[in-house]
Symmetry: C2
Subunit: 263 residues, 2 copies
């Protein structure tokens, strides 16, 4: 194909995509049913994992819940497999121990990759499924005193994107993927977080956005959604302006006290 | 401070930053001398690591070279510490073994984080040093059949960004950071890579860009440099248009055959 034809094809596609996106703003998205679906949740004993399990239970999904913590028994009649994850504390990078770095990666990305790989063959055979990667805003934007955490969450975002791309290349269009990227959530992982960007998220609103993302097959779920704009600004604004902007937003917290689940 | 004043301050900073960037296009950048500097290179036995070692040697740096491979003895009169890294083969994510995923992270990011953490205290005390993270274009853009590789390289980019941010927050402005992100390099890691975007990079041109990035304290070194534009387009263009664009660029390769160094 000649370059001119290709360029024309690209421009037409670009215009069509923008138009499609605009129209979609006014058309309600199709939502898939989750009733009877088999759902495995790692880190289901705490925070986002636990609240997500409750939402799937409401929608009559069949649940398999994993966690290293004791899974609270009030989440209904479910199969519970207790596994992986652990408590991690961190501070400035210098005082982060080597084994803490390793553990952070195991909990935030390696465990998820291993689990995904274990369940992928069945999904591939059926060309059916949905893989949710719980990352973080810290997988796109960095914060001081969370070096190992940010790095492992960048890996989670990279995993989600690469897996999505590979499933597409393999023609497995029946397997959907969603990546959840919330800012600070009030789960006890970070102590006294605060920012001028908005109030700290409650678990419920994160899970609501996640469930909506799952039933509408959204690939990237930012909570709050204005992070998408911030990502664009990051590419366009020079460093000095970005640094000032960050100072103005006053993202701060007292200490990272721990993380109790794979999520 | 009132919001209006803050906004004004931001706009002035933004304009000043753009103006500064424009002026800098015409002013030659200051280059620091590397003579007598103590330089540790991991993965120095092969590819980019080895060629970088040769460049530092030319500039009269004192070298400490690490690699699990036999370090070729023709790189001059240097201290050689042999350590870390290993051979990794990968294919589609499904046929990637769990231990290969783990090894990929060890080689591409964990080893680098451990090494950095070990040498950081001295750098912090002196408020002097330069930490180079060798990532990849795959740390920003994903490719199918390289899921674990992409994920670990995303982690490397995240580590570089978070470390940079933390050093800034700690006021350690004497410690510089550089992240190297080349596309396919002709080092034998990927077999028969090809893309319409340009020819496959030779090790020499990557190292030339890296050395220039180091002596001018550039934070992100893209090779080729047009990847910065691609990152911006990725934020602005809708998915359908991006997918078409990727197809047009025809990034492909036969097989990922192995990786022999931490770089």
């Amino acid at each position: 194909m000649n370059v001119f034809v290709e360029l024309l094809l690209f421009l037409v596609t670009l215009l069509y995509s923008y138009l499609e996106a605009f129209v979609k703003l006014f058309v309600p998205a199709r939502r898939k049913s989750l009733s009877g679906e088999l759902v495995l949740i790692t880190g289901a004993g705490h925070g986002v994992g636990r609240a997500t399990a409750l939402e799937f239970a409401k929608r009559q999904s069949r649940l398999v819940l994993w966690d290293i913590n004791k899974v609270k028994k009030d989440i209904g009649d479910v199969t519970i497999l207790v596994t992986n994850a652990g408590v991690i504390t961190t501070a400035d990078f210098l005082s982060t121990q080597d084994h803490q770095i390793e553990r952070m990666f195991e909990v935030n990305i390696l465990g998820h990759m291993w689990t995904t790989r274990a369940f992928l063959p069945v999904m591939m055979n059926n060309n059916y499924g949905h893989i949710v990667t719980v990352a973080s805003a810290a997988g796109h934007f960095v914060t001081p005193y969370m070096v190992a955490y940010c790095s492992s969450k960048f890996a989670a975002v990279g995993f989600h994107k690469a897996l999505t791309e590979e499933l597409c290349a393999l023609g497995k269009d029946g397997i959907k993927t969603t990546c959840l990227c919330p800012v600070f959530i009030n789960t006890g992982f970070v102590k006294n977080p605060s920012t001028r960007l908005g109030k700290i998220l409650e678990v419920e609103e994160v899970v609501e956005a996640l469930m909506e993302g799952i039933v509408t097959n959204q690939k990237m779920v930012f909570v709050p959604s204005n992070q998408g704009v911030a990502l664009l600004l990051e590419r366009v604004f020079p460093e000095r302006a970005l640094n000032l902007l960050k100072k103005m937003f006053e993202v701060k917290f007292d200490a990272v006290v721990g993380q109790r689940s794979t999520q």
